[in-house]
Amino acid sequence: MTKLWANQVLTIARLEVRKAFLSKRGLWVYLLALFPAVLFFGHGIDTQWKRKQWSQQVTSRSLVESVQIGERAADVRLKLGKPLRDFEYRRRRDGNDESRRMMEYFDGQRRYKFHFVDDLLKDKSDQALASLEEDTQVFSGMFQYFYLRLAIFFGCLGIFMNLFRGEMLDKTLHFWFLAPVRREVLLVGKYLAGLVASAIIFGGGTMLAFFAMLWALDPADVQAYWQGPGMGHLFWYTASAMLGCVGYGSVFLAAGLLLRNPIVPASMILLWESINGFLPAILQKLSILYYLQSLCPLPAPVDKNMPAVLRLILAPAEPAPAVWAVLGLLGVTALVLWVASQAVRRLEVNYSTE
Amino acid sequence: MVPVLELDNLRVQLGRREILKGLSCRLGVSEGGGRAIGLLGPNGAGKSTLIQTMLGFHAPLSGTAKLFGFDCHRQPKEVRARLGYMPENDSFIANMTAVAFLRMMGELSGMPRGAALEKAHETLFHVGLGEARYRQLGTYSLGMKQMAKLAQAIIHGPELVILDEPTNGLDPAARLRMLTLIHEIKATHKMNVLLCSHLLHDVEETCDEVLILKDGRIVHHANLEEERRSNRRFVELELGGVTTGFAAALGTLGAAGVDEGEGRWRVVLPADIEIGALWRLAAERHLQVRKLTYRRDTLEEIFLKAVGHIRATPGDATKPPPLPVSPEEVTHGRL
């Protein structure tokens, strides 16, 4: 008997995966998943283009560092020669007009910016053109703030909610209920389809973003990174993305079965997980995001423009060990799927208007 | 007299498929008073597409469609000001009461506020939704929604009312009411009606002329009175009791008869024999005459002949009818 069930689960999954991947309505999920990869790729191209442009006008580092605050713009220009960019503009700051000037120099590795107010050097800032260390920090921030909370969250909401709730609203659920398939087998088949689709889209999206981050950096750093923690990072990022699909997928599948209005559960979970950092430790463990974040190799940098007062009470709980995180996630998923199977047995086809 | 609808080699394409392939005709030419035009055709023949092109929803590939002399594509406002449209599928606003819905539709058709309110109540009583007029449309049954759709099509008293499958899915009581309403629209209120339906029985009851489409072409345009030549010689009989040997008895009168089973007979009387002869024949053999009527070409036969599935309607042939038209014959002809 189980051989028939397995066969049916695979058939359902194949039918539904085709729909999940190719449906025009699902296009925005791809956008969400590939947005970071596109950005990092663009960033890579941008740095390469800048390196090519700027390397024609390299000024030695010692010379650049010899410039002091307060020097006149003309003197600096005389000493350092023609800057990469010389930009004059007027700025109005609390009532009075100021003439501003900004010059940029490049020493082969780092870019230096000099800000002149009324022709006197006011401040100096420098930034590495491309640094692996900085990029990995940005990636970790992007992954935990954008990818887990927004992309995977709303992507799974779209894909898994569509499996049952979408069919109810399209008035096509009866097609599945009239097939000689047990309801539980139908549920497993559809869940598998949603899982395969979301895991490939988001797992792939994470990997693409990871490689897009690395390709433009200087090969030596990248090689060292691969020898070092690189491979582990890639694995854990992808694993947490896929486990995110498993966790959120089961929750939204069950929500699609139990509730008429998908936005209510989504906004509740979103709210719960966005205030996660401020909750007492035990409460924090009650959310999927907590387990996913504890899988991520690098801690996420705290959002720089978060107001200081909030940052004080932010007390992120100590991340759970990886093994517990995965087990916790799978446990939550199994429980939610069991609830869903009870609900699908009682589900009736009643397309009355909302 | 300006015809209601005039098509001049109209061709319409939806997506990649050409639906209407060159239609030319003049419909609804009448001295005065309302004219009911039936639009018939098998599924996918382009009926709805033609109606939507008249409403200006699709731009014609070539050729023109004129309503009361106005071009449907170039002068949509003039055309739409003169017509009321009852769409085929469910089409309503759930959270509005019937009165509010009709008032809005009336005002959108150019009626001043006061008149729209009066007409809304008047029309709702007319279509039989009098006591449900303050309820929200979302709570209406299928039949009541069809009536509400009809009400919004006639509230502003248009010159042409286009009805797309008005009786589809209605139970007999509601269907009867809908047909009487359509008849009243044409007869008492002098509004022209374009009725598109696949229920031939309904078209037969209400329409003066019929346009039959097939695969986007006009295959038949007929004035129903002429087509339906009532052939006095063609009789339908239903007998109770033992009917063996009745065929032979008919032969003696020179009439040809075909037994259709369960006592149902089709008989063609020769010119000189009166209907009374049949009674005497039945009485002599102690047969009960359950049904005796003159048989007319139903619109179904006209339709089947027009779309080419039977050679001729029974009433057509002056010679005795070929094998009578029965579902089996149609099926073999088709497969």
């Binding site: 930009f87 992007m142 936005i263 | 449209y85 606003i93 759930a94 959108l108 001043p112 008149a115 007319h126």
Partner: protein
């Protein structure tokens, strides 16, 4: 005794002009919207902040009431560009909330039950339908944006007298034009999202998404590229920049995108919404 057969008579009377017909949909929609408790709640909620600002202006113009406070507090009381800008920013979040709540409710009922053919079989073009829906939303949003804005501006001019007016007359214009831009953008976004996604609730979420998720995405772009071109994706940022320019408040430092870039990005968003409306708002779904 005369028996009248008074049943349905065909209407032969005069027909109203285009403008009256255009105002039919707004009249009915306003009536319906005003009957929803939630809408009334938001409208009342949106009145508190202008009230507060009004009180602030009153105090600012009657310094003697605050004799006891020190000099520093005096400067804080200045009623100038930045005061009106903060007023507009807070009111715009209310406006967006109202647009997300009421906008989809306007078009969605017509789409779910396929009522569009009823509208377009009447002498009314698609753009008149969209304009009518826009008027409904613009009416609602103006009630909580530039109307209270001009009220408190008038109050300030009344109290502060002619010279304040000669110095800050452009603020009044900025309040009106700034809010007008917001109302048009919010209405277009609300109508386009409800035409794109047939379900009312998801369309509301899409409107909120448009304003806030885009802001998140823009901020992320900035952090990855380490410059600020990404802000062009953030509609509220663009509006803020245009408001600031109109009010003559200090412009940001040199790396922020230029004023013209912001304006053209906004126009780009509006154009995108109009394209969505043109493609999705069809009387009959033509399946290729």
């Amino acid at each position: 005794m005369a028996v009248y057969k008074r049943g349905y008579q065909r209407y032969e009377g005069p027909r109203t002009g285009t403008w009256d017909r255009l105002m039919v949909l707004p009249r009915f929609s306003w009536g319906q919207l005003m009957s929803q408790r939630l809408v009334i709640a938001v409208l009342i909620g949106a009145a508190f902040w202008p009230l507060l600002c009004g009180i602030f202006i009153y105090i600012a113009n009657h310094i003697e009431l605050l004799a006891g406070f020190g000099q520093g507090f005096q400067k804080f009381l200045a009623v100038d560009g930045s005061f009106f800008k903060t007023f507009m920013i807070v009111q715009s979040t209310f406006a967006i909330g109202l647009a997300a709540m009421t906008g989809p409710g306007l078009i969605a009922p017509d789409l779910t039950n396929n009522a569009l053919p009823l509208y377009f079989s009447r002498p009314m073009s698609r753009w008149e339908y969209v304009l009518a829906r826009m008027i409904v939303l613009a009416g609602m949003l103006s009630a909580i944006t530039w109307i209270p804005g001009l009220l408190i501006f008038g109050m300030q001019v009344g109290m502060a007298g002619g010279d304040w007016f000669s110095k800050y007359w452009n603020l009044g214009l900025a309040v009106f034009l700034g809010f007008a831009m917001l109302v048009i953008l919010a209405s277009l976004v609300a109508l386009a999202s409800s035409a794109w996604v047939k379900w009312r609730v998801v369309a509301g979420a899409l409107v909120l998404g448009f304003f806030f998720v885009l802001a998140g995405a823009a901020q992320m772009m900035n952090s990855i590229f380490r410059d600020s071109a990404g802000s062009l994706l953030n509609p509220l940022y663009l509006l803020g920049r245009l408001w600031a320019a109109m009010m003559g408040i200090d412009s940001p430092d040199e790396s922020e995108p230029g004023l013209w870039a912001c304006a053209s990005a906004l126009i780009g968003f509006c154009a995108l919404m109009i394209v969505v409306l043109e493609r999705k708002l069809r009387p009959v779904e033509v399946v290729k």
